[in-house]
Symmetry: C2
Subunit: 391 residues, 2 copies
């Protein structure tokens, strides 16, 4: 069968708040081939990824992503990898291409899974899926008191792990951060797994980050996530060497396999966090999971949007029993929650299971999300390049 | 003074050919502040960078690039660096942002240079500019005979160095590549500096690349450029260790400082090639030039578009006497040639000089290029986000 259609749908909450909440909009991808349909989701900035899908060619290594996808044969996982390589080659100079490809790659896996009647993780080569321990992923409160209450609430909801990030953390005094960390630990209780996300706040400033290390150790944080931007490998390595037993986590900014590889090879991270909607989809994410095993690094998903994206992000490490922590966003905006008919809810033991159903195992709730569809129109060179298709 | 306007102009040849020629379109940037105007140019895929300029915010770390630029104070080089950092922070999750920022950064330096009446290289901290030896940058011919004729023509034009790249190289047999290399060497003569650009054709396949090493050595290539994609540092290092005295060159794909740093730290390259229109502009390019000196790596510009981009790309290493080779495209499409009123032509010794005039020292030839202006219109969320402004 051949890929007959690749449609992008830009969904958005009516109002976008200036906060670190990635669930406020979404770029949904629908792929059609041989009578089957697959769904995926790309990372942030829907309009820019739409432009990368349909832009006019600049030269032979800067073509619109769509040109390497439409009309291609799609029969097997090898076809998916071949199409991904085509995109990377034909859109080498198109920076946004990796994000744009990501949702398409996810949709191709979903489509093949539906066609063959198997979960995506099986197509990826895993015999079975293991349960994951979800960590509730939330923003730090504006005050330690607010963080304390969030942590207590998360604990009372049955979560054994929680990650606090962004908000005021790292932007004020060291003491203010210590108070935030103590509040989070107190709220989670002594047994809770505490994870901390600095959201690249120190860019590549090792000294600023190191000032927070004593408090991270005292509060027994399991990891410190993204103290620096993804490329600052030297800074990562220096901090990693001084913060044990707290480990560094990072990788959500990686938009190809090599970036993730380098964070493991040179950055000294203990956890590699991959966003399937950014790194080039499940094909590349699985490659990272394999490399992580070789390097003794733990793979974790990065997910801050819908349960479609959550299911996708679980597939690449579904079969790795020891890599048991998974990110689980608990403050989703209605758009992200309503995006799928089904949801991945913790079982009685508090575990999350990748769906045991064909493809990603979830379907977009088309009727519910139509109200979030953004009208988009892009014209260039006298042509209508994009108008949101029928959903 | 404050930045009052940032205008992007998408220029294109009437027909875009499916060849590795980056001069077929351009994204021209015009910046206005305090009655001054500055000009710059972004790398490939104009439409995608326009989208990144004007897209709706997704969340606090995914804002349109324009939001971090318009209204900002612009009085000094420190302001330019501050604005660049703002863009990187506010558009962290917007992959295309680095390319979009690049042209804006160049335009800010041009504007300040014009305001203070000094060349940009002086604002960047160099006392004087040294002449550069240009290498004619061309595509391999479709046949060795065609390559031979190109090389002879380049030599007869007075060039002492030439780079052949892309086209059929690396895609056929090892023998075919050997014949191409011999033809290039023969055409340039024994004394000519021969540079070879593989255009990432082997992705990360060290073995495929290594098969060409004997011919590269036999033809005394000075460098082999981009055997692999920018991130494949392990592959770069392995090949670097087996190909001396031929050195590896790379870096045009880098879209931030860290990527270039890693190619020097871990990839073993001998030449770092920076495209000011991609890496984040002159601020970041200068940072790379400084690091290259520390590492004993030679800085070279990557330029395949207009002479405005050429002047910009020379500024970050204008004051480095020992880094004397510069890329000089000689097969420019009319659009790229006509983009500026003035041109950087070799002097009687065959050298290129960064202009000794305020800013970048060249002005866009507005009347000449108006005919290449592409009509673009982007609408989303009921708003007209972009329509090409008056040029």
């Amino acid at each position: 069968m051949r890929i007959e259609a690749v449609d992008f749908f830009y969904l958005s909450m009516p109002e976008i708040l200036d906060i670190g909440d990635g669930s406020q909009d979404a770029l949904l991808v629908r792929l059609q081939a041989g009578g089957y349909v697959g769904w995926g989701e790309c990372g942030a900035s829907p309009l820019t990824s739409i432009a990368a899908l349909v832009c006019p060619m600049s030269h032979s290594a800067c073509k619109p992503v769509r040109d390497s996808v439409l009309g291609q044969t799609l029969e097997s996982p090898d076809d998916i990898r071949r199409i991904g390589n085509l995109v990377r080659e034909n859109s080498l100079d198109l920076l946004q291409a990796d994000h744009t490809l990501s949702g398409i790659d996810v949709a191709m896996w979903d489509l093949l899974g539906r066609r063959f009647g198997v979960p995506v993780y099986k197509l990826l080569g895993y015999e079975r899926a293991y349960p994951k321990t979800p960590y509730a992923s939330v923003l730090f409160g504006d005050s330690p008191q607010e963080t304390l209450e969030k942590a207590k609430r998360i604990r009372s909801q049955g979560f054994r792990a929680a990650k606090f990030g962004w908000g005021p953390f790292g932007k004020g005094s060291v003491q203010a951060d210590e108070e935030q960390l103590r509040a989070a630990r107190e709220g989670l209780g002594e047994e809770g797994i505490l994870l901390v996300d600095a959201g690249t706040v120190w860019v590549d400033d090792v000294h600023a980050a190191s000032l927070r290390v004593p408090a991270l150790k005292a509060c027994r944080a399991t990891w410190l996530e993204e103290p620096f931007v993804s490329g600052a490998l030297g800074a990562y390595k220096k901090l990693a060497d001084m913060c044990g037993p707290v480990k560094l986590a990072g990788g959500e900014g990686c938009h190809n396999f090599y970036m993730a590889q380098q964070m493991m090879d040179y950055g000294g991270i203990g956890y590699v966090q991959i966003d399937a909607g950014r790194i080039g989809g499940l094909s590349v994410a699985k490659q990272v999971a394999e490399y992580a095993q070789v390097k003794g690094v733990t793979y974790v998903n990065h997910t801050f949007t819908s349960h479609l994206a959550l299911s996708a992000s679980l597939q690449p490490f579904a079969g790795l029993e020891d890599h048991f922590i998974c990110e689980y966003p608990v403050e989703l905006k209605p758009l992200a929650w309503e995006l799928t008919r089904e949801h991945l809810l913790p079982d009685d033991n508090g575990h999350i299971h990748p769906p045991d159903a064909p493809g990603l195992g979830l379907s977009p709730h088309v009727e519910a999300i139509r109200k979030y569809l953004v009208d988009v129109e892009i014209r260039a060179k006298g042509k209508l390049l994009y108008r949101n298709p029928d959903l």
